[in-house]
Every structure is written in structure tokens, then in C-alpha cells.
């Protein structure tokens, strides 16, 4: 009897593994429209995503397909030109533990959509809302201090930093003898 239960439990676990992650390939126009209406704080830092974002279950943070699409868009739209592999260059790094506008999805979304001072262009007219959310999710994943179960696809080329789902920002964070940014906030 015990063995039977074990076998059945194993079978159930195996079958549960057959479920495939849902890919949202086509965002209905009303939902895309709603997703565009984020509520930002007056200074453009932090705020709240629209209700529909939570109703969909934060798809741009936990869905591997969306993260992969974000990774593709990261190279398609030339983010590498300024931000490199995430370690910065002309533009700021995503891996040094310092977010000028905060690590929230809304802030990253707003940075990409509307641009920011000192050189970050607005991508409002170049990308759809869906794409901007996907890219924001990926950028947040690069700079994350916590590993994720959902990971974007692997690099074909040589790795220049730990993979996104390994929380590279935490691994690479080096405060140095003197903190680079005095007002950096709590260390990770």
C-alpha cells in the first residue's frame, strides 16, 4: 500500500512537470493600453504599476519567455552600446548596486519609455508597451540581488559576468574600502 502511494505520488510529480510555462505572445490591445498607465511619483522615481500588472501575475518578472524576449530586445535596441553587458560604459551600470531611479519595475519602465536626463533616450516611439515591459524585466533581472527561478536564455558568446538568474549584482557588488556612493543605502 505504501509503495503504491509512493509510485502514485512520483507519477503525479512527474506529470506536474509536464506543464509548460505559458507564453503570452499577443497582448490584447486594451491590456497593452492599461499596462502603459503607470503611476509615477512626481520626481519620476518609483510609483505603482497599473492594477492589471498584478492581475496578470507580474508576468514580466516571473516568466522566462518574457525575460528572454527582454534579453533579445536588450541587444536589438542597442542597450549594449552604453550599458555593456550590464556593467555599464557610457551609461550607468546595472550591477554596482546603485539604481539612480530605484530598482522598481515602474522606474525602469519609465526610464526606457520616457528617457532620462544625461543621455538616456526615450523609446516610446521605437518599442511597444509589451516590449518595454519585457526589457524592463530583463534589466531588473541583471541587477537583481536575488536569484530567480525564471531565467532568460543563455548567451551564445563567452560569459563576461555571472548569468542573470545567479544574481550577478550580488556576486559582483564590491563596496570597496570607501563606499563609492555614500548615500547608497543598505548593502545587499
Amino acid at each position: 500500500m505504501k509503495r503504491m502511494t509512493g509510485v502514485l505520488l512520483g507519477l503525479a510529480t512527474a506529470l506536474a512537470g509536464c506543464q509548460r510555462e505559458e507564453r503570452q505572445l499577443r497582448l490584447d490591445p486594451p491590456i497593452a493600453d492599461a499596462l502603459d498607465r503607470i503611476a509615477l511619483m512626481p520626481n519620476g522615481i518609483s510609483g505603482a504599476p497599473p492594477d492589471v500588472y498584478f492581475a496578470l501575475g507580474k508576468p514580466y518578472e516571473v516568466n522566462a519567455y518574457n525575460l528572454s524576449q527582454g534579453k533579445r530586445l536588450y541587444s536589438w535596441f542597442g542597450c549594449k552600446a552604453c550599458h555593456g553587458d550590464g556593467q555599464g560604459g557610457i551609461g550607468p551600470s546595472f550591477l554596482d548596486g546603485w539604481w539612480y531611479y530605484g530598482p522598481e519595475m515602474v522606474s525602469i519602465f519609465a526610464s526606457i519609455r520616457d528617457g532620462r536626463p544625461h543621455g538616456m533616450p526615450a523609446y516610446r516611439d521605437k518599442m511597444t508597451t509589451d516590449q518595454i515591459w519585457q526589457l524592463a524585466g530583463y534589466v531588473q533581472a541583471i541587477g537583481s540581488y536575488e536569484g530567480k527561478t525564471a531565467a532568460p536564455s543563455r548567451n551564445d558568446e563567452k560569459q563576461t559576468r555571472p548569468a542573470e538568474n545567479r544574481a550577478p549584482a550580488k556576486l559582483l557588488f564590491d563596496e570597496g574600502p570607501i563606499p563609492v556612493h555614500a548615500d547608497q543605502g543598505p548593502t545587499p
Binding site: R23, L25, R26, L27, P29, A32, D33, R72, W76, F77, Y123, D125, K126, M127, T128, D130, Q131, D156
Partner: protein, 332 residues
């Protein structure tokens, strides 16, 4: 009555079978030297294998039906040796011949002279990018999903896969050749007869692998020159109000972030070059005939038509959709 219906059915089936052998995408309808040598190889191997199969079957049936005789007490060892040696020699000979002729047939493929027309072929999910490379930098131009080639001339294809492995296969002209990321493969094709030859990706490359077709249009040298000169030109500035509005929409919306229309401010590199999209026979890698309606349908909802492809659904007003599809259809 029943017999008549049976006869008609047989005839229809035979006609359908034979119809499959000709047409615009068939290895048995060869129109180029490499396709012809591959077809000969197919025929030789099928004929020889059929003969061997018939021989084996006949021997087996005869052995089964033959009346069993009273055997002599000791079967002749000599006869056994002859039979085994014969079978081994025949097998070695046939396999050896197959190896040699298939080596010779495939060895001759991909040989090209120096001054051939060169096309850089990029395989992407899920479309084909083509770049014509001439002796002068000004000869270069890009197109997608459709190539024109002059009849009777070798055309060298430099094959590159940009995301995953694809395979370039135009059965009527040549065999398959893979497009592997990080590696440059080459293939030479030649069409001996004018015509339209369809090809498609022959290596599973993701969700829309089945919708990754291309057309090779073989035409006379004069027609080819006329076509390539037209392709080299930038898109003309639209004079009509509707088309000008379409261009404005194209530039103001995300379209220009991925697509190039030479002669305009649209310089995106990740999607197909649309400078002369209206002159191509199909859109979306062989999915639809190019018409204003199919362009509008594609722009309105690419994710329903070809789920998973990299073109997002861009929200447009009906007026914007009308003008932008009219503009794209006008890009001859």
C-alpha cells in the same frame, strides 16, 4: 459502376502522385546542375535498392515454395561457401559503388568560379535576409525572402545563421546547406531554366519553422539587371497624400525601430529591409501573397497570423493602418 469509380479513383491518385513530382518545390523537378546530379543519385539508389529487394524477395519466395527434397546425407560445403562469398561480395560492391557515386555527386556541388554573383544569406527566426554583394560597394543592396538570379550563371551563397541553426533548401536547384551561428557556409546554385522555385528552411528552428519559405526567381540576364538596378534604388518619395501619411506613420511608430526603407529616416536593422517590399511576391516569409490587404492584415495582428514571430503588434488607428499599408504596397 463500382469498377468505373475505382478506375477514376486510381487515375486521380496516379495524377496526384505524379503532380507531386513536378511543381515549384520538388527535388524530382530538377532545374540546376546540382539538383540534377542529386536526382540521378536518388534514381540510381532507388533502382538498385529495388532490384536487390526484388531479388531477395524472389529467392525467399522460391525457397518457401520449393518442394522439400530428400537431402543427401552431407550437404556440399563448397556450395555454402559460394553462396556466402557471393552475398558478401555483392553487398560490398553495392555499398562501395553507392559510396563512390554519392561522393562524386556531392563533391561536384558547391564548386564555383571567381567572378560569380555573391549573395549573403542570413537565416533568422523566421525569415531570410539577402544581401547582394557586387565588386563595388555601391552594388550592394538588401532584400528579404525572395532572390532573383540570372539563368545559367553560378550564384554563390554565403550562409550565416544569426540566432539558431537554419537550413537553406531549394529542392529544384540544389541540396540542403545549414546556416550555423558563428560559422560561414557556402553553397553554389545555378538555374538552367527560367522559373520560380520555392525553397524553405529544412532544419527545425522554432515555432514558425514551417512558415519560413523563400522564392528563387530565375530570369534572363537582362531581366535580372533591370530588377537589381531597381532594387538598388532608394524608395521614391510619396507624392500622394495618403502615401505620405503612411510614411509619416511608419516613421512615428515603432516600425522604423526595426525596418529600413532606404531613402527615408527608417534605418532599423533587425527586421527585413522594406525598401521594395511591394515588388516581392510574398510577405512574412512566403505566408501571403503581397497585396495591400495582406499587408494590412499582417501589420494589424502579426501574432495571430504567425504566433511567436518577432514582430510585435503595434497599436494603430484605422486611418494609420490604412495609410501605412497603402504606402508599403506602393513600394515597388
Amino acid at each position: 459502376m463500382i469498377r468505373a469509380i475505382g478506375k477514376t479513383c486510381m487515375r486521380a491518385m496516379l495524377a496526384a502522385l505524379l503532380a507531386d513530382c513536378s511543381g515549384w518545390q520538388s527535388a524530382l523537378d530538377a532545374h540546376g546542375p546540382s539538383a540534377v546530379s542529386l536526382k540521378q543519385l536518388i534514381i540510381v539508389i532507388v533502382v538498385v535498392c529495388s532490384l536487390v529487394w526484388m531479388l531477395v524477395m524472389t529467392t525467399m519466395i522460391v525457397a518457401l515454395l520449393r518442394r522439400r527434397e530428400v537431402r543427401p546425407a552431407t550437404p556440399s560445403p563448397h556450395r555454402m561457401t559460394v553462396a556466402v562469398t557471393g552475398a558478401v561480395v555483392a553487398t560490398v560492391l553495392i555499398i562501395g559503388t553507392f559510396t563512390v557515386i554519392s561522393f562524386l555527386a556531392t563533391h561536384a556541388l558547391g564548386v564555383a568560379g571567381q567572378d560569380d554573383l555573391t549573395i549573403r544569406v542570413r537565416g533568422l527566426q523566421w525569415w531570410w535576409g539577402f544581401e547582394y554583394i557586387g565588386p563595388n560597394p555601391s552594388d550592394r543592396f538588401e532584400t528579404a525572402n525572395e532572390i532573383h538570379i540570372p539563368v545559367g550563371r553560378n550564384v554563390r551563397l554565403k550562409l550565416e545563421g544569426l540566432d539558431v541553426i537554419h537550413s537553406f533548401w531549394v529542392p529544384s536547384l540544389a541540396g540542403k546547406q545549414d546556416l550555423v551561428p558563428g560559422r560561414s557556409n557556402e553553397l553554389t546554385i545555378r538555374a538552367d531554366n527560367p522559373g520560380v522555385y520555392r525553397g524553405q528552411c529544412a532544419e527545425f528552428c522554432g515555432m514558425q519553422h514551417a512558415h519560413m519559405a523563400l522564392l528563387v526567381i530565375a530570369q534572363s540576364q537582362d531581366d535580372f539587371d533591370r530588377w537589381s538596378n531597381a532594387q538598388r534604388q532608394a524608395a521614391r518619395q510619396p507624392a500622394e497624400e495618403e502615401l505620405a501619411a503612411g510614411l509619416q506613420t511608419f516613421l512615428a511608430k515603432p516600425c522604423a525601430g526595426c525596418h529600413t526603407i532606404r531613402g527615408t529616416a527608417a534605418t532599423g536593422k533587425t527586421g527585413p529591409d522594406l525598401t521594395h517590399v511591394g515588388s516581392r511576391r510574398t510577405i512574412a516569409a512566403g505566408l501571403f501573397e503581397t497585396t495591400r490587404g495582406s499587408l494590412a492584415a499582417w501589420i494589424a495582428d502579426p501574432q495571430t497570423i504567425k504566433p511567436g514571430n518577432n514582430m510585435p503588434m503595434v497599436p494603430l488607428t484605422p486611418d494609420e493602418l490604412r495609410t501605412v499599408s497603402a504606402y508599403l504596397a506602393s513600394l515597388k
